[in-house]
């Protein structure tokens, strides 16, 4: 039977796309199961959330009973990382999870406020080993793509002639203008670098290639370890494929004090931006005191990976009902 045409139907998501998606999810599960990682599920709803100043969380309320005066703010996860690291700190082995995460306000060609994330952690892996495994996973899903690994600094210099570790907003601004790119006001150097990365460098990355960028400037460390020999860069990497940011990985910051400091730093930025402060996850910090082992973790956007695999430029055909029609 031909489905009745309906404006609310997602025309791009067909039974065929559902089969394609299911096939890739199965490949991902097989990949980790054959490599000895344990699949886990962690809470989607939590008392705490990421404080990242550029990620806006969905907030809701827990009520002991309807109309109760005792209400508590709770949050939908923007990533499962805190809970997964808590499991690692409790002694869990290598773990992986495929789950829904939520980011407020993010709607676009490759954004949906609710999306599927694959996140996994490997004990005793450093960043380089984690990059290798991320490449192997992508090869398992996409087939043989070329592979390129460059440091953030080398890539930036190659395409702009500017050293990202020794520059300033004015120099970046001048460069963007020389390339005909008008840009919003840069509040910080990090904003300027990220704008250049996404508007000028990303489009120049080679096609059908796994493009790994690693050793991000320390200001963009998030929760990655700083490099032992060069504290101006962090052991963080990103994977880009065909103009899409697919994965983000860290050699994890294990020190509880430094973790707390970075969460607080983001909250200060939130205040400065006029955004609400998010409670820092004390359960997460406490668990780190028990000792998070040396480990690395990667978060990978599953909908985007499926879009790449199906040679699609948007995630529309990877999800059953986009936000607009959900």
């Amino acid at each position: 039977m031909v489905p009745f045409p309906n404006e609310k139907s997602n025309k791009s998501f067909t039974i065929q796309s559902a089969r394609f998606r299911a096939g890739i999810i199965r490949k991902i599960r097989d990949f980790f199961q054959t490599r000895g990682a344990l699949e886990v599920e962690t809470p989607i709803l939590s008392h705490a959330a990421s404080t990242d100043c550029h990620i806006d969380v969905f907030k809701t309320r827990f009520e002991p009973f309807p109309g109760s005066p005792l209400k508590e703010d709770v949050f939908l996860q923007t990533s499962p990382e805190f809970h997964m690291k808590r499991l690692l700190a409790e002694g869990f082995p290598d773990i992986f999870q495929i789950c829904k995460v939520f980011r407020n306000g993010e709607v676009g060609r490759i954004h949906n406020p609710e999306f599927t994330l694959l996140e996994w952690y490997r004990r005793d892996y450093d960043m380089y080993k984690m990059i290798e495994e991320t490449a192997e996973l992508c090869t398992c899903v996409l087939g043989n793509y070329r592979n390129q690994k460059k440091t953030y600094r080398d890539l930036f210099i190659e395409h702009t002639g500017i050293d990202p570790l020794k520059t300033n907003c004015a120099e970046i601004s001048l460069f963007c203008k020389s390339k005909g790119k008008t840009h919003p006001v840069f509040d910080t150097l990090t904003d300027a670098l990220q704008f250049t990365m996404s508007e000028i460098i990303e489009p120049l990355l080679p096609k059908d290639t796994l493009c790994f960028v690693y050793n991000f400037p320390a200001d963009q460390a998030v929760l990655a370890l700083l490099d032992k020999d060069d504290s101006s860069v962090a052991r963080r990497f990103e994977l880009y494929i065909n103009g899409m940011e697919i994965a983000n990985g860290f050699e994890e910051l294990t020190d509880p004090e430094e973790n707390l400091r970075r969460l607080r730093e983001q909250n200060l930025k939130r205040k400065a931006m006029g955004k609400p402060v998010i409670p820092e996850d004390n359960s997460f910090i406490e668990s780190l005191k028990a000792g998070l082992p040396l480990c690395s973790g990667t978060a990978l956007g599953v909908d985007r990976l499926i879009a790449i695999a199906s040679e699609s430029e948007s995630i529309d055909a990877t999800i059953s009902f986009r936000w607009e029609i959900s």
Partner: protein
């Protein structure tokens, strides 16, 4: 007119930037996983037609351009100016030819058009989508030539030149889609 923020950006929205009216042609939400969100926007200047790429920080606001569209009847032209009359209050205005280059080829006397204004400034003249014209000249069809050509040129009473099927002859009336300039059918 009110302010709009980036979340309200959509195709065809008209906004004011640096004192000029622009229309959004393309709008894309961009956000690095760990970075600031912005909108990558392609805009078209409603006066000059120039197309430009701009980026707006997520949440940034701009003024919406107040564009008013009025029904006006085309009366005549003197070669440099086209005179139109407001169908409701019979007021007349003159629009310089260079502001309606594309549309002027469809203007038959007494055609009712939609004229858009930004303040006093005319930014577009839109004739009816389907219009009938008499052909003032087209080459007679050549027998046996159907294999190579499926269409030929025809000049309309307004001077516009369009592609028509081979059986169309001088003096016939035809219907045109003025958005594309395509021949649709014979008219009576």
């Amino acid at each position: 007119m009110g302010m709009v923020d980036t979340s309200q950006f959509r195709k065809k929205l008209k906004i004011i930037i640096d004192g000029q009216p622009w229309m959004i042609v393309e709008n894309e939400f961009v956000k690095p996983g760990k970075g600031q969100a912005f909108n990558r926007v392609k805009i078209k200047n409603l006066i000059t037609g120039r197309v430009l790429d701009r980026t707006f920080k997520s949440g940034e606001t701009v003024e919406e351009a107040e564009v008013i569209t009025t029904k006006m009847q085309y009366l005549y032209n003197d070669g440099t100016n086209y005179t139109f009359m407001n169908s409701e209050n019979y007021e007349q205005i003159e629009i310089p030819k260079d502001q309606i280059v594309d549309e002027s080829r469809w203007l038959l006397e007494n055609t009712e058009c939609e004229v858009s204004f930004w303040g006093d400034r005319v930014i577009s003249v839109t004739p009816p989508t389907f219009m009938d014209f008499v052909i003032t000249y087209t080459e007679p069809a050549v027998r046996g030539d159907t294999a190579t050509n499926v269409s030929k040129k025809a000049t309309l009473e307004t001077g516009a030149v369009v592609d028509v099927p081979l059986f169309i002859e001088t003096g016939m009336k035809i219907r045109i889609d003025t958005r594309t300039g395509e021949y649709l059918q014979r008219a009576t």
